[in-house]
Amino acid sequence: MPRETGIPPGTLGLLILRVLNSQSLHGYAIAQRIRLLSKEELSVEEGSLYPALQKLLLQGWVKASWTTSESGRRVREYRLTADGRKELESATSEYRRTSRAIGWLLDKA
């Protein structure tokens, strides 16, 4: 039984793109940042974070490079590409539109 993460299905990629929009981050930091920015409402399951990152790499929306963190560890940092930025914009507006529509529907019904 998977843990309850609070992340609606299909939105993990969008969340990752969003947190990478302002800065480059490694995998652990991405998970932390999502949790932090969502006021601890959403938590990323590690098991799905890495496949999602690979998918974004394959799409060419993010790029990865090895670097050393402040604590001196070798980490792999992800940053948004120009294509990724475009995707983030369109996915965000698409999500907002859908969520608004669902909101209307729930209010009316």
Partner: protein, 872 residues
């Protein structure tokens, strides 16, 4: 664009897989180390697999596993290895023969710009195209006149090939010199490798003789010297200057029986290079017209209607012609001048190869169907274990792919080897007896050949290896219960897939056996043919070219040369003629006051003693007299012509009209097959040999080994005419066998190939039938358990077999009959309706098949009931 980038990225991830997996592991380890509770991370293996899924590695792994599994299981079965290797052999042979045929007969010469617009125009006699399938060219004055009036082409050019002598201080060699108009190279659009090519400025009377070399000749004569431009070359005794070298891709426009051209020279200097009259004579038909079509003009329009400009040339028609017929050939049909032999031979071998390929395909389908029994169990088991139809179908497809790739690889390797062997033996399928330079078909070995081999391999694998097994993957669950494979119904007739396959095999075996029979008998007949020459092993034949001398000089030199040869110790007698045996021209003869169209006869010229030296019997009258009094009036004919013109009468003393002059028959000789030993007997005439001939063939009967005398002939020639050249020296028996053997070999190759196909089919048919009977043992056991007798079982199996043999056999005989009509031209003294081949051999094959069925039926009836039923 996006898709392409993604595909590239996928490929990159596949290629860098192990590094990426390592990096992912390291990344996840770091993540775990940073977590307060690393156990919350979950299973690393699962994450790894999920990530692999994203990159498509899982599908790749499945595919590789299937490939490995298929290769392992297939290669474990010896019958499969035999099937796939014989398929590869058949693919290789088919691809090689097809590529060679395509390269020779359907591809435009290389190095030419827009070859689709190029055509050659010749003419022939209206409604009598069969008399000269290659047509006639024009005279040079006619060409000049046509160039001024024609409005169909952007420009026209012409070319004529003649044997010439290239000499240095130490040696003289015969080569083909191609004389071309200045428009020739600009029209073709060929680019030079070195220097420049010929243009209109070179083709002006009185201009210095500039020449261009072929790539092979540049290598053989100048060792591929890059500084060759500007060097001099002596052709027919005249010094010429090399101005350029052609690229390897351009081999000339049409190779005739003298072989490929070595040197290109301007037509304007042809007279200066020892070819007097070539530009002024109007009674020659030497020059084809090469033209580049204006846009919007179709080649067929010229052929069908004949351009008006052609009829504007009044002297075009030959004196005895009923009218002109225009012959137009696209550039793709001009690689070789004489196409018939190549078309016939390669066409037939290709048909046989395709039949063998079909046989090999059916054989493979057989082997795979034979394994179907075991596969049914395997597939049912795998379905029971949860494998989906898609997965099973994918595995079968992979097996098909493996078969296709193996067959393709074997086919490509064999194809290249066969094509290379064919390229070194072009004499078998080209008329190149007197070639001055080797002609090869190595151009046929290219990526197309390899691609073709793979395409055939994959198609065969899909059609014969995958499709018949698809029902197995689609309905694996039913196959546990049903042992009999799917049935094909046609009215009341129900046939299993294997019965259908068997029927095709019988049909193929019978048609191949009949073809093998026709060719085998042709080979035997051809092998027993003897030339009418007496002791040909004691006669030396050699071509002498005196093209560097003027006709007046030749007239003086030839008689001296022949006299000196006759005086040599060891020489029994020596003479000369225009042509080598069986490679002669033809002309028209008229009877005085008879039909002006006349009769077509094969024609050449012989000096006094021509028949005595060769040992050809003169059956009536005499040979030409040494005194020379027959020179302008005499004519010798063969028995065929004598019987045709004067049936039941003496021919000697009769008169005929040859080229407008009356000649009297002086003798009749027993050389009925003068145009080809394995061809039909044809009417022939020999006119007195003119001593001003440029090139001619010596015949010298020697007391000892004739080849030992070649050196002495060369010495004598050098002494008398240093600019003369000797070539193609050979003893008459070797020359005869070189002429006859290709035809014999062609028959032998075809017969052997067809027999191989029959063998393949017999083995395949036998094993298939045995496995069918074996598989139906349960059914037989059940029938016998409910009361069927041995006799009933035997009768039933025999009936099933008889349907297959009779239906397959009838189809086979029909196919064999059709094939026999197609190959009628290739047969020698064997009719295409030959009953031995078309009736007797098929009956033997059918009876053999029936006997093997009967044996299998007896075996089946002896089936022990208990174990069979217990096994259920």
């Amino acid at each position: 664009m996006r898709i392409v980038t993604r595909l590239f990225r996928h490929a990159w991830y596949v290629l860098n897989r192990s590094r990426l997996e390592r990096e992912l592991d390291e990344e996840m380890e770091t993540h775990r180390a940073l977590m307060d509770d690393p156990h919350r991370f979950g299973k690393l293996t699962r994450v790894r697999e999920d990530a692999a899924d994203v990159f498509g590695w899982t599908h790749l792994d499945d595919l590789l596993r299937d490939v490995r599994y298929s290769a392992r299981t297939l290669l474990r079965s010896p019958s499969f290895i035999v099937a796939v290797v014989s398929l590869g052999l058949a693919i290789g042979a088919t691809a090689a023969v097809y590529s060679t045929e395509d390269w020779l007969l359907r591809r435009s010469p290389g190095g030419v710009v827009d070859p689709g617009e190029l055509v050659t125009v010749r003419i022939t006699e209206k409604d009598r195209v069969d008399l000269s399938p290659n047509g006639y060219g024009f005279s040079y004055p006619q060409y000049r006149a046509l160039r001024d009036v024609q409005d169909t082409f952007t420009d026209i050019a012409t070319y004529g090939k003649l044997v010439g002598v290239v000499s240095t201080d130490t040696r003289s060699d015969q080569v083909v010199v191609e004389y071309v108009t200045g428009s020739y190279f600009p029209l073709l659009g060929v680019r030079p490798l070195l220097g420049r090519l010929l243009s209109d400025e070179d083709d002006v009377p009185g201009s210095p003789p500039n020449v261009v070399l072929s790539h092979p000749f540049w290598h053989s004569q100048f060792g591929g010297d890059s500084q060759v431009v500007g060097r001099s070359l002596r052709i027919n005794g005249v010094l010429t200057r090399v101005v350029g070298v052609l690229p390897q891709t351009f081999e000339g426009y049409g190779i005739d029986w003298n072989g490929p051209s070595a040197i290109w020279a301007p037509l304007a200097v042809a007279q200066a290079l020892g070819n007097p009259g070539i530009l002024t004579r109007t009674n020659v038909s030497f020059f084809p017209i090469l033209g580049r079509l204006k846009s919007g003009v179709a080649a067929t329009a010229i052929r069908d209607h004949g351009p008006a400009w052609l009829s504007a040339i009044p002297s075009l028609k030959m004196p005895a012609w009923t009218g002109n017929q225009v012959m137009v050939r696209p550039s793709s049909e001009t690689r070789i001048g004489s196409r018939r032999r190549a078309e016939d031979f390669l066409g037939v071998i290709l048909i046989v190869c395709v039949l063998i390929l079909l046989a090999a395909c059916i054989n493979m389908a057989n082997v795979l169907l034979g394994r179907a029994m075991d596969r049914r169990r395997e597939f049912s088991l795998r379905t029971a274990l949860g494998a989906g139809r898609r997965r099973l179908a994918l595995q079968l497809a992979t097996e098909g792919l493996v078969i296709g790739v193996i067959a393709g690889v074997v086919g490509a390797v064999i194809g290249v080897a066969v094509a290379a062997a064919m390229a070194t033996l072009p004499r078998i399928y080209l008329n190149l007896l007197t070639a001055t330079a080797p002609v090869t078909t190595f151009g046929a070995i290219d990526a197309r050949l390899v691609g073709l081999a793979f395409a055939i391999g994959l198609t065969a694998a899909v059609v014969f290896g995958f499709v018949p097994l698809v029902p197995l993957a689609l309905r694996p669950e039913s196959s546990l219960v049903r042992d009999t494979p799917s049935k094909w119904t046609w009215g009341r007739l129900r046939l299993s897939t294997r019965q259908l396959v068997l029927m095709c095999q019988v049909a193929l075996a019978i048609s191949l056996a009949a073809t093998a029979g026709l060719y085998g008998r042709t080979f035997l007949r051809a092998a027993s043919v003897r030339a009418p020459y007496d002791k040909p092993e004691s006669v030396l034949v050699a071509r002498v070219a005196l093209t560097a001398l003027t006709p007046a000089e030749r007239k003086v030199l030839w008689p001296i040369f022949l006299a000196r040869l006759n005086d040599e110790p060891g020489v029994v007698s020596a003479t000369v003629g225009w042509n080598p045996p069986y490679r002669i021209g033809f002309t028209r003869l008229q009877l005085p006051g008879g039909d002006p169209t006349g009769v077509q006869v094969s024609s050449t010229a012989g000096a006094p003693g021509f028949f005595a030296v060769q040992g050809i019997p003169v059956v009536e009258g005499r040979e030409f007299l040494a005194s020379g009094e027959d020179q302008d009036t005499g004519l010798i004919i063969n028995r065929v012509l004598a019987r045709q013109l004067w049936p039941g009468q003496h021919a000697v003393g009769q008169t005929v009209i040859l080229a407008g002059a009356t000649r009297t028959i002086t003798g009749v000789v027993a050389d009925d097959h003068c145009d080809g030993l394995l061809e039909e007997a044809v009417p022939c005439q020999w006119q007195p040999w003119p001593p001003d001939s440029g090139t001619s063939y010596l015949r010298i009967r020697t007391a000892a080994e004739p080849m030992a005398f070649v050196g002495r002939v060369r010495e004598l020639l050098r002494e008398l005419a240093p600019s003369g050249a000797l070539a193609e020296a050979s003893s008459m028996d070797v020359m005869l066998s070189e002429i006859i053997e290709p035809q014999r070999n062609a028959a032998l190759i075809a017969a052997t190939l067809a027999s191989f196909g029959v063998l393949l089919l017999v083995v395949g048919t036998g094993s298939l039938f045995l496995s069918m009977v074996r598989d139906s043992r349960r059914e037989i056991a059940v029938r016998m358990a409910i009361g069927a007798t041995h006799g009933m079982v035997v009768r039933r199996v025999l009936m099933q077999g008889a349907v297959v043999v009779v239906a397959g056999g009838s189809l086979g005989i029909a196919v064999a009959y059709y094939l026999a009509q197609q190959i009628a031209d290739q047969l020698f003294q064997v009719a295409p309706t030959d009953s031995m081949s078309l009736v007797f051999i098929p009956i033997v094959v059918a009876v053999t098949a029936f006997v093997s069925i009967a044996v299998a039926a007896r075996e089946a009836a002896r089936t022990d009931l208990a174990p069979q039923l217990k096994a259920q």
